[in-house]
Symmetry: C2
Subunit: 244 residues, 2 copies
DNA sequence: CGTTCGATTGAGCTTTCTCAAGCACAGTGG
DNA sequence: CCACTGTGCTTGAGAAAGCTCAATCGAACG
């Protein structure tokens, strides 16, 4: 149907360098980069955030569109009594603030040193018009996010704590794989246990215990508090789907 | 930013009749209807499904794009051991199968008598090209669904059973409101208790018990097994946000 | 070397699940 | 017209997964 890789009739090389950004999806980046992202970067304002700093809060007027160029952010929603659900993590290459609402639906906070490139929302519409492939690309990004959101609904609605953490690790590994092409088997955890818990619908204590189980099952090794090595990807895959 | 209501320079009347379809979002429908949906309907193939019939299964090749014209469907994913998560219900006006994957990521099953209008996926790309506003519109639809999916993640990850059911009823009421303009206070439950449970990440027993609690709290009345009357919308809103 | 903060571990508790029985209502056949 | 039956819903009792609260650990930092 809507082909994500077609733009101005030319196909890109699969090994397109992607202008040095570590991207979620190479095909997506390639198009964005060629048709608009480079311009976006050139015209956009660069900004930095330190760990723990907030980019915007839920309810803030959404005045700018951001793209992450370095670091990681968490997106979250709070219930009135303080319960928190992290709806996603944003990595280099991801876009923030491209919703249709005038207000941000979530808060965004830096997990480490974050570098962003931003653009006034008011000019983003015109920008998209000038780069027609962007429109399709935005749709592709939204569709991908939607598909990820649906998977997360399955995780939150129906998986056990062990399955949730296993699924999460596989998500992170897939990401690490996509960045460094070769089949990596270890990856960073830039987020705290509490963040993982708030992403997986658990408590930090349960995350800790279940991480211990995965370790005891010889599926992962804790290289450091914030670095995991996968020992048995297939096994972890089985656990993630409830077959472990 | 991307204005959902602009197309070919002309603004639509807010009370545009929407060609008789009961739509999720009037603005969305208006544009779709004018720029493409009427054509979609004229060129598309009409089909019907009886209650319990499956439109497609997870993993089936996605050969057609559908729009619901009557009735309700459920979308769901299964885990290998049979656990089920319903990721959404589709009502008249909604689109199915407009993903980027070649295979359906979810299964779709009719909850009642369903009427659909469909289009070969292969021709949908061209169709979108001929109706440029469609592209933006598709993006808007995806963005809306994404926002709904995020809310559902909060529900599944952090809300209690009581809060989940209250939130669900408010979702359905909002929908009923949007269709019949006037502030309705009752709505149908075309889905079984098990379906509600699989949507809310609970069991049918818990749904039943919690429904009893909402009744005892005088927040709702069960007019019939499949019809609810809201007695205290504000109260239900408080419960849904954990303030009850 | 002490302090701090996040992570881990433990014990008891709560919510929700599981399994099982009973109920209500619609459809069927006598 | 009424018993029969099937299906989905409700209710109950016990079990379990995960939560809460509290104590301990351990690495990072002054």
């Amino acid at each position: 149907m809507l082909s994500p890789a077609r733009h101005n009739g030319a196909e890109l090389h699969a090994d397109h360098p992607c202008a040095g950004c570590a991207v979620r999806d190479r095909a997506v980046c390639a198009v964005l980069d060629c048709d608009g992202l480079a311009t976006f970067r050139r015209l956009g304002r660069t900004s930095k955030l330190g760990q723990g700093q907030t980019l915007f809060h839920e309810g803030d007027p959404a005045t700018r569109v951001f793209t992450v160029t370095r670091g990681t952010l968490k997106l979250y929603t709070l219930l009135p009594d303080g319960r928190r659900q992290i709806t996603g993590f944003m990595f280099p290459g991801d876009f923030l603030g491209i919703s249709l609402d005038e207000e941000h639906a979530v808060s965004a906070e830096a997990l480490d040193e974050v570098q962003l490139c931003s653009f006034p929302r008011s000019r983003f519409g015109a920008f998209v018009e000038e780069h027609p492939a962007m429109e399709r690309q935005l749709y592709c990004l939204a569709a991908n996010e939607l598909s990820a959101a649906r998977q997360q609904m399955v995780l939150l609605g129906r998986k056990t704590a062990l399955e949730r953490l296993a699924s999460f690790f596989l998500q992170l590994l897939d990401r690490a794989d996509r960045i460094s092409e070769g089949g990596t088997s270890s990856f960073d955890l830039p987020m705290s246990r509490t963040d993982i818990a708030d992403y997986l619908g658990l408590t930090k204590e349960t995350v800790s215990r279940v991480l211990g189980q995965l370790r005891d099952l010889r599926l992962v090794r804790l290289i450091a508090r914030d670095r995991i090595k996968l020992l048995d990807r297939a096994g972890l895959g089985l656990v993630a789907e409830g077959l472990g």
